[in-house]
Structures are given as C-alpha cells and as structure tokens.
Symmetry: D2
Subunit: 360 residues, 4 copies
C-alpha cells in the first residue's frame, strides 16, 4: 500500500526528482547475505541517464549510500536504509511548468488529489523513483543468485521493429552488448536508428520488454488473489509508462484451442516434465519449475521536445515545450527496472512460501 512493495521482502521508497535524493528502506531481507557493492552499483549504472547516445544527455552519478542493516559486508536481517543523492538537478528548467499541466503527465492528477505538487522534474511522479527499485532489485538478485535463480530482460520491440522469435532463439547474454539492450544485433541497430530519428524530431517512441526468469523453484505464488503472475503483473504495471502485461502465450493465445495450448506432462527420464511451456511457468497461480516469461508494453513517453497545446492551472489554453534533457525512448533504461521488479517479486514469494509448511 502507498509506497511499500512486497509482503515479506518489503521495499519502501521515497524521494523526488529535484529534492535531496531518492532512497528507501528494504525490510525483511534475509540475514547473512553478502552484499556485493560493485554489483549493486553496476545495476544502478545500467539504469542511469547519459549512458549512451540514445538516452538522455543528463549526467547523474547515482551513487548509493547504505545507511543501515549491513555489518562487515553482510545483511543483518535489520532494515536496510539507503540514499542516492540528487546531484545534477537543473530545477530552473522546470520553472515554466509550475503554472501549467503537461499533457499525459501526472501534473493534473497530482494537483487535484493532493492540492499541491512539487512541479520540479515531475516531483514524486518522476521515473527517478525507480532508482530505489533498482537498489531493491539488486539486493534481491544477490539473494536469488544463492538460490540459482536468474532474471534476464531485454528490449524485444521498439515502435514497429520487433524480434520475430521467442526468447529461446536468442543468446540473452548479448543483451548488454548494445545500447538498446536487444540480443539481436541487427534488430538492435535498426532500433537505435529509429530512436535517433525520433529524437531528432523531438518526439518519443514506445516498445516492449521481454523478461525471462530461470531456475525458479516449484511452489511460489498464492492460489487466489496473489497468483504469482498477478504479483508480477501488478509489479510491472507500477513502472512508469507501462500500459500492458502478458505472460506465457498472453494475448496471442486467445485464438488457440485448449488442445493446442495445454502443456502435456510426460515422464522425462524419470522426472515429471512438460512437452511445451505455453503456460509461462505458472499454473494455478503457482510456479511449476519451468521458465517464467512475460512481456511488458511501454508507451512513448509524454515529455516531448516540441511545442504542444495545453492549459494552465486556471484552465486557460496555452502552449508547452519541455526544456532540459529527456529520453526519446525509455526501453533501454527500463530493462534493469523490469528485472528489479521481477527479482523483488520472486524473492518475496520465495520467502512467503517458506511459511507453507510448519517444519521444512
């Protein structure tokens, strides 16, 4: 509820784009996990602006400071507070936005809900909030790594340029080899060209991120409201600019017959296995040990470097044009955010599942 995510593993975030910084508290993180600080910072670096020509030019250090819950490099089981100071904010870029509502931003709804808003850089609605998610996700990944669970996301579509094959057909470790984070080098080049073109026009473009979770044990998820895919879907839909979520065969699967979609069990050298994985690794809301895969749709971001009509706070028609430095396409930087939300969801359900039996 409010700014807390998770049931057992719980991330509470705070911070605005142009305030003192972005931070949070990670609670319920297991004791005795070694925290690899280089890895954690590297996850933040994957998200940070200015990392390539197709992201915003803003330079932000995004250095995380841990404030508690870590002793001699190990998690203590106590809450882990952390803070990433804002260091390169150009608040004056936003002076012109104080008195108007940008189209398709949160300006209008925040003002109506709260009666006031911090207009600088979007305030609390800024995607800078996802820094805290990446810190939480990095810790979750460190715990999942000890369990043999891995999570890999990649850009599978930008505008009309889409990968034609499913994740099995790609070497996912190539994802980080290009700026757009796509494991298909040819498509990646085309995607980058499209983003550059859109950027030159002062416009923006959307796309799709695919995510694969491997090594997930059987039994995660709850039968009714907190089905594992419902938890994953809710987590993904909470990321800025996300408009859709599907797992397994998703929307495309609605046209198939049950006899085509059912995953047939068989005896695979003495082990129960399925011949296909249309289900996406989850049955009845509970992980079945197969790969979990899903897709997340991102709209083109609303901040344009071109003039648009809008209204001011009094409802008078006016024009707005963003100043400052903005992403023409959020996909490349959203890949680690999708992974972070997935990692936190899986760890949370792993811990929750430990309560299913009285004695292990």
């Amino acid at each position: 509820m409010f700014n807390t995510f998770g049931n057992i593993f719980r991330l509470t975030t705070f911070g605005e784009s142009h305030g003192a910084g972005i931070g949070g508290v990670i609670d319920g993180f297991p004791a005795g996990i070694r925290l690899d600080m280089d890895f954690i910072q590297s996850e933040l670096d994957r998200r940070k602006p200015g990392q390539s020509k197709i992201t915003t030019d803003r330079k932000e250090a995004d250095q995380v400071e841990f404030l508690s819950g870590v002793f001699e490099g190990m998690s203590t089981g106590c809450p882990i507070g952390f803070l990433v100071r804002n260091t390169n904010q150009h608040s004056s870029d936003y002076d012109n936005l104080r008195h108007l509502y940008r189209p398709s931003h949160a300006d209008y709804t925040y003002t109506q809900k709260y009666g006031l808003r911090d207009h600088r850089g979007g305030g609390r609605s800024s995607a800078r909030e996802t820094i805290a998610r990446c810190v939480g996700g990095a810790l979750a990944k460190l715990a999942l790594r000890e369990l043999g669970i891995s999570i890999q996301a990649y850009t599978s579509q930008v505008g009309h340029i889409a990968l034609e094959n499913d994740y099995h057909q790609y070497e996912l470790s190539l994802t980080e080899t290009n700026a757009v984070r796509c494991p298909d080098a040819t498509k990646a080049t085309a995607m980058e060209a499209l983003i550059a073109e859109v950027k030159a026009q002062g416009d923006t473009i959307g796309g799709i991120i695919t995510c694969v979770i491997q090594g997930c044990p059987i039994g995660l998820g709850q039968p009714a409201f907190d089905k594992l895919h419902a938890a994953l879907g809710g987590a993904m839909l909470s990321i800025n600019a996300v408009k859709g979520f599907e797992y397994g065969e998703g929307f495309a699967g609605v046209t198939a017959r049950g006899s085509e979609q059912n995953d047939i069990f068989y005896n695979h050298n003495g082990r129960i296995d399925t011949r296909t994985n249309h289900s996406g690794g989850i049955q009845g809301g509970i992980s079945n040990g197969q790969d979990i895969y899903f897709r997340v749709a991102f709209k083109p971001v609303a901040t344009l470097l071109m003039e648009q009509p809008t209204v001011d706070l009094q409802g008078n028609d006016t024009l707005v044009k963003a100043r400052g430095r903005h992403d023409p396409c959020v996909l490349p930087r959203a890949v680690p955010i999708v992974e972070a939300m997935a990692a936190m969801t899986i760890l949370d359900h792993y811990l929750l599942n430990k309560t299913t039996r009285l004695v292990d």
Copy 2:
C-alpha cells in the same frame, strides 16, 4: 496477501469446489449502505453455470446467505460474512483424477507446494472461488452506484472473432441481450456458433473481455506501487485463466509516437478537459476523471472433454479425459467477474483516497 483482496475494502474468500461451500468476509465496507439483495443475487446469477447452451450444463443454485454485518437491510460497518452452499457436486466425476495431474491445471503445483490437495473439482483452484468475488463485487457496485460510478464489461473477442471498434461505438446496455455477452449482435451470433463448434469437438477456446468504468472521480490511485492501473491489472490477473492485461492504448500503442498519443488538455467551456483519452483515464497512476477502459485476455480453459496424455503422481505416463460438465469458453461467465474485481478495486481506492487530506 494470501486469500485477502484490498486495502480498506477487504474481501477474504474461502471454499472449494466440492467442499461445504464458497464464502467470504467483506471487511471495511462503509456503514449505512442499503443492500439490495435482489441485485446481489442477480449478479451471482450472471456468473452461475447452466445459464445458456454455451456454458456448462451444471445446475447450481448459488444462493448467497449473509451471516453478519447487515441490520434491517443496511450495512453496519462490521464485517459481512456470507456463504454459498455447494449443492450439486458430483464428486465421483473426479475419482479418476485423484492419482494423476491434469495438463495445465493446478494439480501438480498444488501438490508440490502443499504436499496434499483436494482433487475434487479442482478443490481450491476451482473457478467456483469467484462466486465470493461476485458477492464482494455486487456490494461494491451498490456503494459505487451511490457515487455515480458505473462499470460495464463485455466480450470483445472469442477466438479469432473480434469486435473491430472501441467501446464508444457500441450500445453497452445490449451486452446482456445475448448469451455470449457481446454488445454487437452479429458478432455475438458468430461467437456463439464458434463456441458451439468447439464444444462439439470436446475442445475449448479463449478470448478477450473489455471493461469500461465511467463516472470515476479524479484522484484515485497511488503514485508508486499501487497505481490505479497496477491495482486493476493485478486484480484481473488474479482471475482464473487470465494471461494478459492492457489499459488505454495498451500493447497496440507501443508503435505510436508520443506526439500521437499524448492527450492534449484544453479549455472545454470553462472546464479542463482532454481532446483524446489514449491514457485510459489514468495519468501518473491516478484517475483523471475520464473513462477508464482496459482489456483482459483469457486462455482456452484447460479442461477438455477429449483424451490427453499426462502422468500419474508417480510420474508414469497415462491418459486423462475429463468427465462431468465444463465450459468450452469462460468468457460469457467471466464478464461479471471482471466487473466484480473492477468494482472492488475502485471502491477500495475511493475509500483509501479519503485519507489523503486531514479534513475534507
């Protein structure tokens, strides 16, 4: 968490397909709402089996008994317990399923997670659990009605047969005039024919339900993890057989430019309005007063009236064929369930939003 849905308005459900019944507790429901018992039962009747030729032949009365929280026809603010007794269970239809795992059902994952399962009719994983959601949804609708908020879902696709237009182009009140719950009579006839054909083959088929929420006040939803569409998406993904959720322009919108998708504010006769509603009524996670609309993808149900390979509990290859009475397509009966989950989500966020200001 577990079997509870919601933050302030909270529905906790219990019950298995072949146990004593399905029931729940509605907590946090506002005091002083008149409960229209005929309306509540009519919502259950929309969900119940046996209502037409294209649903299962099972006959179940699904009569709800309220056990508490209602005094002289009014909600008291105290928890509302309710129970729908199971009355027409043919448990012996499932005897053959006790020792094997049905493909793409929860049989395998439940057994692995809990160490045992009630195999009769799917036990807790049965869609009969959604009876309790329809009761909760009916109460939520009664409260929303007092606020002028309406919710209407309809079948917009079955297999390849899809409505071509968006919800504005249909008279949504026609939804209940045919068995498939589609507001386009011609398409409805084609959908029904397709379902009948699939049923004759012992097979099943999926589809898409569209839902529209009108009259929602500005300000519902939370900025970070509990964005209104994340709450709606998580709620929809918790319904059996759902594989995807999208709102506003959804997946299709990823190919557009920001300049095409932004909803431009303008002065509409002295009132702030937008020229389009690509956003789907939610900006920055918070309702903006426009219509909220979204789409939910349902896979073809896994229970087939044809023989399929599978394994028994020991992992030996075997065959399975369902006996009993099953739906070839869940869409018609899922329409009220989608509405119920939407209604509970909106009421929960309406109540939560009342805490935003110290004094109204």
Copy 3:
C-alpha cells in the same frame, strides 16, 4: 487491521451476538496439520456459557462447522472457513435497549461511529465474537503441539482474592479442576464464593488471568514495533473487558534496581542459561527460550442485573436494567480466550521467523 488478526497466520472474524452466527476465516495455516476435531470442540466448550453456576445460565451449543481448507482430516494450506450458528438467542430481551445507551458499553460509541448499530445482545461488540478466536486458537495450539510449545492460562485473582505465588509454585494442570479455573483449590473456593455473592447482588467483579508459554523456541519476535511482547500485549488488550497487560516483572518491577532485575547468563552444563527469568522469556523483543509469562487485567463487566441511570438516544435521562442471562465475572470463561490469543500470536511469529534466513 479491521477484523483480521496476524501477519502470516491470519484470523478474520465476523458475526454478531443475535445474527446468524459467529465465524471466520483462518488463512496462512500450514498445510499437513491433522485437525483433532474433538480437541477443537473441547476448546469451544471451555468458553461456552452455562458451564457452571458461576457463569451465565445461557445454554448455547456452540458447535463449529468447518466449511473449507480441510481434506480427509488434514489442513490443506488453503483458507479454513468456519461457522458457529447462533441457536438460543432471546433477542426480545434486548428490545428495551434499542433506544438507549447502556453505561460503559459500546452502544454509544458504535452509534456515533457507524450511524447505526445492531442493538441485540451487543451486536458486534458482544463477547460472542471470541468464539471465533477460540477456533483459531485451537488450530494454532494443534500446530504448536507439534513443535512442543504449550500454553496454559489460569485465574490468578478475582476481586481482592489473589494467588500469592508465581506460576512455578502451582500445579497448572489443576486449573481445569474447578469452575473458576484457578490451580489453587483453596483460593478457587474463595473466588467462587465471591462471584456467587456478587451475582446475588446483580453486580459484577473483575480479576487477573496469568498465562505461561513453555517450549517456545529462541528467535520469535521482531526488533522494533512488533516485539513479541508487544504483539502479545496488543492481542490481549483486544479481548473484551481487558484493561491492562504486563509481562515478566511488569509494573512491580519498576521499583527494583537493574542489578536486581538483570537475568545473569551462565554456563549450565555446557548450555547457555540464565539464573533468573525476570525478563519473562523475551529480550529485545525476541524470545530467548525461557518461559514466557504475562498477566492480563479484566475489569468488572458492565452489564448489571440492577437498575442504573443512563440516557436514551435523544439524550434524555432514563433508567436501564439488563434482562437476560449474564456473567457476573468473565474470568473463568476468559481463560481459554487468553490462551487462544497467545497461541495465535506465537504461531504467527513462528511462521514469520521462518523467513529470517534464506535457506534453513
């Protein structure tokens, strides 16, 4: 929150004194626990009215029906719904209370909060709600029994008649051998005589219940807000008529010096032990493996069989005299309720503690 107790083990209750019945949902109960139905009913019998001369004369069967979550005598891990039908309600005994506020009851505060109330038998504020707690507590005890944890409460004071010694000096198994549930037979006789005297006057009397938890493993409880004794205290204070809670040396210990109260660690035949247990088995909010003991103060119940001044709904002065059958002293019947709340608290924290480490 609202009518749900617990974090992992969660009891949600519903029901009014003169409605259809009292029931609830137990969620998060571990799978695979054999449910001893005779034991569960016997716990309800310890609470039910009419069991002796010093309790109310009302006869209520208080038979529990389980509605879900149990399969072939075992818990399935799914929610356990249950219902105890009301069978012997004399609602007309309360007709005279509809239009007035009884002194020191919830009549006035409920009406102000909710705008209406079910006046019959106290409605939701009736202590009949504790039936559901006893069901939840009985299940929790069955789980704790498998862990070797036992819970025993007893009446240690009625009015001015108090046990002089602490729990070590008594044979606690004698608690159930007298109607007042006191392990000291002589004191028990005096307490019963006092209650009989008070009853003859139409008056009521309070007292203290002591509770001892033995066999609790080390490590239960959370460091900050959910210290184990804070959870126990909050649980006890939620029982009707409770006015105070203390654990370990409690209020009496405030006059001692630290050098007198500290529990000194020593090597006890190769095991770390303490020479005393002034702390009451909890240090820093976390169980230390010693006995946990605490005391709960109950006020004299507010329902008197004598005439008292009061006001009606319009604020006019009037008189009230209860009709019907009421307890002159709640202590004897509250003993199992104290145990039930303790059992649920300990089981909840036992399950929660399973999430402290990634791998056991």
Copy 4:
C-alpha cells in the same frame, strides 16, 4: 510488520546506534500540513542524550534532515524520508562486547535469530531507534494540533517515589520545568535525587509514565482486534524497556464492582456526558470523546556501570562491565517517546476512521 508502524499513517524506521544514522519514511501523512521545523527539532531535543545531569553525558546533535515529501514547507502527501546522522559514536567502547552476551540485552536473542549482529552500541536494538519515532510523532502532533487534539505525558513514578494523585490534580504544563519531567515539583526533586544516587552506584532504576490525550473525537478505533487501547498498548509495549501497559482504571480496577466502575451517562446541559471516566475514554474499543489516559511501566535499564557475570559466545563464564555513557533511568527521555507513539496511533486511527462512511 517488521519495521513499519501504522495502517494509514505508516512509519518505517531504519538505523543502528553506531551505523551511519537513524532514519525512516513517513507514508500516508496527509497533504497540505505545514511542517514547523523548529517544533520537530524541539521534540528531538526533548529525547536527546546529555540534556541534564540525570541523563547520559553523551552529546549528540540529533539534527534531522528531511529528504522528500515536503515542498515549500508543506507536506505533499508523498512519502517523507528523513535522516539523523550519527555523529558522536565511540564504537571502541563496545569492542569488549563483541564476543560476549550482556545480561538482559538483545545480544543473545539477536545472534540466535539472525546468525550475526552489529554489536556496537546495541546495533539495531539500541534505543537510538526511537529518534525516528520522535520525528514521526512530531509530524503526527502537527496534524493533531490542527484537529485540536493534544497529548501530554509525564513521569509519575521513579522507583518507589510515586505521584499519589491522578492527572486531574496536576498542572501538566509544569512537566517540562524539571529534568525528570514530573509535574509535581517536590516529587520531581526526590526522583532526581534517587536517580543521582542510583547513578553513583553504577546501577539503574525504573518507573512509570502516565499519558493523557485530550480533544480526541468520538469514533476512533476498531471493534475487534484493533481496539484503540489495543493499538495504544501495542505501540507502548514496542518501546524499549517497557514491561506493562494499563488504561483507565487498569490493574487497580479489578477489585472494584461493576456498579462502582460503570461510567453513568447523563444529560449534561443538553449534551450526552458521563459522570465519571473510569473507562479511560474508550468503550468497546472506540474513543468516546472523554480524555484517554494510560500508564506505561519501564524496567530499570540493563546496562550497568558495574561488573556482572555473563558468558561469551562460546558459553564460557566471564565478566562484563559497560564502558561509555549510559542513562541510569530512561524515564525522563522516554516521556517524548510515549507521546510520539500515542500521537502516531491517534492520527493513524483518525485517518482510518475517515473510511467508515462512504460520503462525509
């Protein structure tokens, strides 16, 4: 759960005594409250060490930095992150404690629960954690002030020196005029002398704090598990060194008859009032508009400046003597902490109560 307090108003805390600092996130705080920073700092100053001869000599600035959720001096409705840096830690004072367990501290239980602990200054179990509670409490007080609700605690007993009268007999505004925070100047002098004597011996002493809440509206609290006094009691018992809680007549009231304790309603110049307030302002778990008053028992703190036997991590008998600067009696500094927990509880329930009715 874990390190979060509250339902709507939610404080999540982090930090250890000798780590980077103590901080937290306040979520669910209403938008549009002016934050009086001088008042907030003054509340921290009431808690900080070194403020008088009878507290520890440690000097800590305890300056709070707000990191988010405040814009131009007003709360925005977004989460309020804050941090109080540790500045004067003498970690080497604790080197000798790394390998042993101090009597009646959390050293042993933490190590058993988590497998490791930060031994410096008690780590997470240090009462420095209450800094974050005082920040949360200060904000809650600012909101309550707008509602006309005031909260005043005072030291009513130190060792055997106790105030004889109830709170009506004192001028509570005198509480802050002496170091022990007792409104009776004569008793205060005696208490200070006792604390000085105990300190000279290297020993410690306990006591009782009384708290009064005035101006609380009718209707706060929930009927079953979250009765207002259960919430208050759980909150108080979560403060370090607290061993007991009682409200209204408390433990002393168990010897009275119902006819003596009932609070008789009467028509008080056209308004419904009660002739007494034995109930302590709460009936049926819900505030009735009268003063709420309660008492909190604190044990003598466990850290002694004298030698005590104990064991090391391997269970070998050894001796321990604290170095450093410690409080001989926590009561004076605990007064603002009791108030803080009370303020947060009342604000939380005030906000929760706003959801009781659909429309105000």
